[in-house]
Subunit: 318 residues, 2 copies
């Protein structure tokens, strides 16, 4: 049993990670400012004696330190706190500055002061930018993020790398694309389900539906992160994702429609990008991770199908 | 004539850039918080009717905006403001956060609000980290900065790239290694000159003297930046440096000794790195820039020889 701190611990990924760590008998302290995470997300954990939750802004060093308080023997921080609303961050760069970068900065300050040795960081495929048809592996360059979210994830990686040089014993960097599953708090599937709840006859889609992306189910993501955390090393940098090239927005829209509102018609836009900062096409190499013995249990298509069923159940109670 | 804003305009590079732009008849507004830059640096410019100086913290959006005030028709920002004391930034990461990254963040906010279209940014070879014997070109990866300074320069690049996607018309990123010349405010040559002023018989050197780096004279840097600013494009990313592999710290120490205090003995340390965050060896490709028709006028060795003469004259009046 080791004691793990999860920032963004009431968020989509944080809550799934907490459940997984607790299942294996570890202690977990989840911290979340509940600006996007929801307390219901971790309701099923609150009776577990190995689980604690505290509300705090992880970008505020003193508040974060106070929230950790007397918690003893924390060896690992899983830093999952970030802004998850990419268009919001494009409209106001201070959102990603605060929620995506300053959380990382403050987490590192607290780890240094408390001598917590190991950091596991949820980065993003958004740090790469638009490589078109080129297969994106971990060592590719130049890194040209096109959203403030991607920029602040790259800034976080950079600050973590410097901290490894100065005081951290170990850091893992997880770069992953869209992650889906429940409890869903944001994302294209939830967006489509909400639209169909409001207008059951019609699903309006931003962009022309040809954007193709890889999707990873959160169960596979948590399994991959915990797998990487066991690989010996000082600084581990891994793409995480399915091995396929992904599915189109059209496929997702159709899958949601078929489950949530089969008679709805789907209306596409004309742009190849849904919004500023959205990369239209994306080829993502996970060879490095596959070579360590991990493999995804679901393809992008299977992940979408399972997540659509889960999210429709969550939102529509069926 | 165009109107240029230089942040860090009283710093070493900013002052040389201002002189160059004014010489060609442009208007220049220099802003500097004078925490590291010195007002004497731009004393020779203050009678020029095309030159204005205002003191402000460029990391404070409102203060920066107020300092620009009614200045009209600024088309270009040369963002040179940054922490230049790398060891200080390693001791306290908030220094590089504020002076190296938040300056960039605030500059971008002000450019967006005022619709200033063109940004020219002094990045750094420190964004690359330690590639050993591998030749470092602009598209290499992964980017693993080992100092907070390098991390916050990379964070700045990332935020600028996202801003190009959202609102900037153009950005140039200049990645350069050690720049030398006068008015020197920091750096290895000035450090050695100061040591020999204090103890003329002996020069103590951090590290074993085998660290080898490329050095660029500030005159060549300013010429390269202005050359790149004329190349058509939306986002220009260039290494700037000499074409050689650099000179050793031993060579620099001997050159300073020979000019400043010929009878002094030089005492080396034992480490191959002088300090945390110092990369021992470094091979730097400037092929992309050379292919545009620019070339350095001085090698690393010639740049060191000229800068040593200039800095000894500045500090010792001879």
């Amino acid at each position: 049993m080791t004691h793990h701190l999860i920032t963004g611990g009431a968020g989509f990924i944080g809550a799934n990670l907490a459940t997984s760590l607790l299942k294996d008998g570890h202690r977990v302290l989840a911290i979340d400012d509940l600006s996007r995470g929801r307390i219901e997300t971790i309701h099923h954990l609150t009776n577990n004696p190995n689980f604690d939750f505290r509300q705090a802004d992880c970008a505020d060093r003193d508040a974060l330190d106070a929230a950790i308080g007397e918690a003893e023997c924390i060896t690992d921080v899983w830093h999952m706190a970030a802004n998850s609303d990419i268009p919001a961050g494009i409209a106001d760069p201070r959102i990603d500055l605060h929620q995506t970068f300053m959380t990382t900065f403050a987490v590192l300050e607290v780890m240094k002061a408390r001598e917590i040795p190991n950091l596991h960081f949820a980065s993003s495929s958004a740090i790469y930018g638009d490589f078109g048809e080129t297969m994106i592996h971990e060592d590719i360059g130049p890194l040209l993020p096109i959203s403030n979210y991607g920029a602040m994830k790259l800034a976080s990686e950079a600050q973590i790398r410097a901290a490894v040089e100065a005081f951290l014993r170990r850091a893992d960097i997880f770069r992953f694309p869209n992650v889906i599953g429940v409890p869903a708090t944001h994302g294209v599937i939830l967006d489509f389900v909400h639209k169909l709840k409001n207008t059951p006859e019609e699903l309006q889609v931003l962009g022309n539906g040809t954007q193709q992306k890889a999707y990873l189910h959160v169960d596979d993501l948590v399994r991959a992160m915990r797998h990487i955390a066991e690989i010996p090393g000082r600084y581990q940098l891994f793409n995480i994702g399915p091995t396929d090239d992904g599915v189109t927005v059209r496929m997702i829209a159709e899958t949601v429609r078929d489950v949530a509102s089969p008679s709805a018609s789907i209306i596409f836009g004309e742009e190849s990008r849904g919004w500023v900062g959205d990369v239209p096409r994306f080829r993502y190499s996970v060879d490095r991770l596959i070579n360590t013995g991990w493999e995804p249990s679901l393809s992008s298509q299977e992940a979408v199908q399972r997540a659509v069923a889960e999210i429709v159940a969550q939102e529509m109670g069926r």
